[in-house]
Symmetry: C2
Subunit: 144 residues, 2 copies
Amino acid sequence: MTDLPAFDLEGYLPYRFTVIAAELSDGLARQYRDRFGISIAEWRVLVNVGYGESPALRDIERRVRLEKSKVSRAASRLEAKGYLRKEVDAHDRRLLRLTLTEAGAALLARLIPIAEAYQAELVGRLGPEATLLHAALDRLSPRG
Amino acid sequence: MTDLPAFDLEGYLPYRFTVIAAELSDGLARQYRDRFGISIAEWRVLVNVGYGESPALRDIERRVRLEKSKVSRAASRLEAKGYLRKEVDAHDRRLLRLTLTEAGAALLARLIPIAEAYQAELVGRLGPEATLLHAALDRLSPRG
DNA sequence: CGAGGGCCGTTGCAAATGCAACGATCATCG
DNA sequence: CGATGATCGTTGCATTTGCAACGGCCCTCG
């Protein structure tokens, strides 16, 4: 048996982040799915459409680190459910701009408080270290 | 258009963690895949077998937060590649204990330094805040 | 103009994934 | 014992995923 150098998987950052990310997302994901029939990808698209100026798919793709095809399919599902409209950009007909419908805006207005509450709970758990955490995360991956 | 409360997706913890986790894993994942033909799941199983006392699949499942079926399939692939052996536990024949082969130990011995180097780079990027980060992570998800 | 090259969104396809169902085995307890 | 319920690992299946290829559109430059 070859001798192995010591290694601590539990403290290994890529591993820890994967586990925690899954934990943090799952709780919310289940709620959004069960109560609203919405996936995480759809939720991210919704947020972007809600706060951007009728962004095109490629804008969302970049901001939210979501595969091209994933954005496309999420947008199509949201359209099918009546939460948003797609319209071709007048100046560049390759671009497809997204806008919330009334139903979409209403849905988002219900989703946001849930997300905020969850965030508040997490920040509460972190206590004063919350700011430090964000700083540390910035070092691992600077945000635009 | 309904009025929406402000919301900052970029600073939203579940989102940030998902993005960072993907970033941190991808670099390593690609290396392991291209250079060694190993997936992340397989890598995690390897580490467990290397450092545990011939753990059973269910032990790995718990420690590493990997789906039952994912562990099973990863183990089968590793066995097929000749990196580990499966043997039925003598006292409980439901359990399947895993052991590294020579080739498996050799492979792991090559993978570990790469992982360590990556961890070192990340810790370097964090500087003295590294300890704080781990503390914060513990608050979000206590480790066993 | 118009031909070439790049960007946009969609879609087909193979592989990965999650989940439930299953057979085999064990532990409990009457 | 023997029956019941739980645990373990595998597998079938429907869904999701990532990737590459494609058609439509725009821009540049001769």
